[in-house]
């Protein structure tokens, strides 16, 4: 790694006691601890997991080379991971559902709340209320919502409300048909505050003259929303969407606590499958292959980020 051993080079700094003498040591002194940790704990494990994903990986060790077997099995022979059919199912498919509905609902609700909030006096309050779940552990959010969904007309809030309409208690988390939707609702509840705060800041950057001009020209509020506000904050929307997509790929805690992937395996997601296969089940090569798939899914986002910051870094 170039990071670990920066060659003697140009530096703007004079030598200091703490830098250990010669000026070329300054970079090493300041970068050294971080470089060491990154190489040993991030970069080496990446290659280790990559290699292990082509192995049976019995006991977490390299036991038997299996080529692409783990990957082939993941995508063709593991209905818990991906089952193509009608309707499709499996962890990867659930991630697709999350990707589509969680991301779009968060962005849409975030935009609507941000726009509406600018028109009332209690803007700061409503934004704080919606933002609050961002502070709470997913574990706690999961308990809050397991209680809301609790299948009893007496003590479960949602079923008590349905009971008023004469609908019997529904086990939202107990049926493969409803469980993923019930979980996505909780995910949206937890993340809308993030979208609201970022988009609200962006919306405030829109010149009031533009909005006034549209109003004078007779545009109604719906037209202003879709034709002016949404296009003008499209860049912040894409930043929010990318963050939410990363959340989806890394989603674990909420699933683990709310359903443990169930009923059966119907609410598993990819990060859950990785944990489940590697640790309780002890299929380490297989788990490593899932981790590598996660990394591959994140690579487009890595490229997006590096492109975004390359220009800026080169200017320095």
């Amino acid at each position: 790694m170039a990071v670990a051993n920066p060659p003697a080079g140009t530096t703007g700094g004079s030598s200091g006691k703490a830098t250990g003498g010669g000026f070329s040591w300054a970079a090493l002194f300041f970068m050294g601890p971080a470089a060491l940790l990154l190489v040993v704990l991030l970069i080496f494990p990446t290659f280790y997991s990559l290699a292990l994903s082509f192995n049976r990986g019995r006991g977490g060790q390299f036991s038997e080379w299996v080529g692409f077997d783990n990957y082939v099995r993941l995508f063709t022979a593991d209905p818990n991971f991906l089952r193509l059919g009608f309707p499709p199912s499996g962890a990867l498919w659930n991630n697709v559902l999350w990707l589509i509905f969680y991301t779009s609902l968060c962005v849409l609700l975030g935009l609507i709340i941000a726009v509406m909030a600018t028109r009332v006096r209690y803007e700061a309050l409503i934004k704080a209320i919606v933002f609050l779940p961002m502070a709470i552990a997913a574990t706690a959010i999961a308990i809050i919502w397991r209680f809301v969904y609790f299948p009893s007309s007496e003590t479960g809030l949602l079923n008590a409300l349905l009971g008023i309409g004469g609908v019997g208690p529904v086990a939202f988390l107990g049926s493969p048909d409803t469980v993923n939707w019930a979980l996505i609702v909780v995910g949206v509840w937890g993340s809308v505050g993030f979208a609201t705060v970022i988009l609200s800041a962006a919306i405030k950057g829109i010149s009031s003259e533009v909005l006034e001009a549209a109003r004078v020209d007779g545009a109604n509020e719906t037209q202003i929303f879709w034709r002016i506000i949404v296009p003008m904050v499209s860049l912040p929307i894409s930043v929010v969407a990318v963050t939410l997509i990363v959340n989806v790929i890394k989603l674990f805690d909420l699933i683990y606590v709310m359903t443990n992937g169930g009923p059966g395996t119907s609410s598993r997601v990819i990060a859950f499958a990785m944990y489940q296969e590697a640790f309780p089940a002890g299929r380490f090569g297989y788990g490593a292959a899932i981790a590598v798939v996660m990394l591959l899914m994140l690579i487009p986002i890595i490229i997006f980020n590096v492109r975004r910051f390359r220009t800026e870094a080169v200017q320095q």
């Binding site: 940790l37 308990i143 963050t243 910051f309 870094a313």
Partner: protein, 295 residues
């Protein structure tokens, strides 16, 4: 904020009928925002109330019945803290979180300083490489790091979690702090160099004091990240006595799946510290979370 509101408030209504028309035309906004406020508050409020209800009441009626039969107790908290081990788990969360926040704060600040103000070959390439490392999922490290830590005994104390949390926090911290440090006035740092200040002196007496908002934002973000983490703790804390609250609560869920008074009290023990941070340091907190939007 007030400036923004001014732009949306148009000419003041003059007559009563105008005022009524305005109120009605705005009422859908109030109704929708009111409903949103309820949906975001009521679930948490319900659990909060439940954490103070006697469990016999909790089993018989919904928490909203406290309006007609207000009976409260702190026994749920006493029971989870003492008998169910949430007290020890609370301390564990603290022991895990404080070093896992301070270590990356120091290490990332130093690296960010080098990347911003010390010239060395391939510096910008290395920075871009660290930006790329931002997206490495923690799952990539699970198997190799568990193998690495197992012979050392670090999985049986807080060590493995400290190290893993620190390492996986670095790319984001370096990224965030380097981008902040680079905005500090160049003249100030050059002047200090001419006066003979060492890199360490510049780092300690100029860069750090001027960067308190960014460092605070990163510190709060990392503190909450570790405090709220479940997944890393499941993997790297392999002894009951060292597990944080998030793990302990999942074990309680297995034992008491519908003992909501207990679970509610346990959930609020997890939430109390982040809520205090949120309410007291809201500005840094929001900055930290917004800056975290690249993680």
């Amino acid at each position: 904020m007030t400036a923004i509101q001014d732009t949306t408030v148009r000419a003041q209504p003059r007559t009563l009928s105008e005022r009524i028309t305005r109120a009605i035309s705005k009422s859908p906004v109030h109704i929708i925002l009111g409903l949103i406020g309820l949906v975001w508050l009521v679930p948490t409020l319900g659990l909060f109330i439940t954490s103070f209800r006697p469990s016999a009441d909790m089993r018989a009626t919904g928490w909203w019945n406290v309006l007609v039969e207000p009976r409260f107790t702190t026994s749920n908290y006493e029971r989870v803290i003492e008998a169910e081990g949430m007290g020890q788990a609370f301390l564990n969360s603290l022991f895990i979180t404080v070093p896992s926040t301070l270590a990356p704060l120091v290490i990332a600040s130093m690296a960010a300083f080098a990347l911003a103000w010390v010239k060395f070959p391939f510096r910008d390439t290395i920075f871009l490489f660290i930006v790329a490392l931002l997206m490495i999922p923690v799952q990539i490290g699970f198997i190799p790091l568990v193998n690495m830590f197992r012979p050392t005994g670090l999985l049986q104390n807080y060590g493995a979690l400290w190290i893993a949390h620190t390492a996986f926090a670095l790319p984001f911290g370096i990224f965030l702090l380097r981008n902040f440090f680079i905005t500090l006035p160049k003249d100030l740092i050059e002047a200090a160099r001419i006066d003979g200040a060492s890199n360490w002196g510049i780092f300690r007496t100029i860069v750090i004091p001027l960067s308190v908002p960014a460092i605070a934002a990163y510190g709060i973000f990392q503190f909450l990240w570790v405090w709220n983490d479940l997944l890393m703790a499941l993997v790297y804390a392999q002894r009951n006595a060292i597990q944080p609250m998030t793990v302990r609560v999942t074990q309680l869920l297995g034992t008491y799946a519908s003992e909501w008074s207990l679970l509610a009290a346990a959930a609020f023990l997890i939430m109390i510290v982040p809520l205090i941070v949120f309410l007291s340091l809201q500005r840094y907190f929001v900055q930290g979370l917004l800056a975290g939007s690249v993680k």
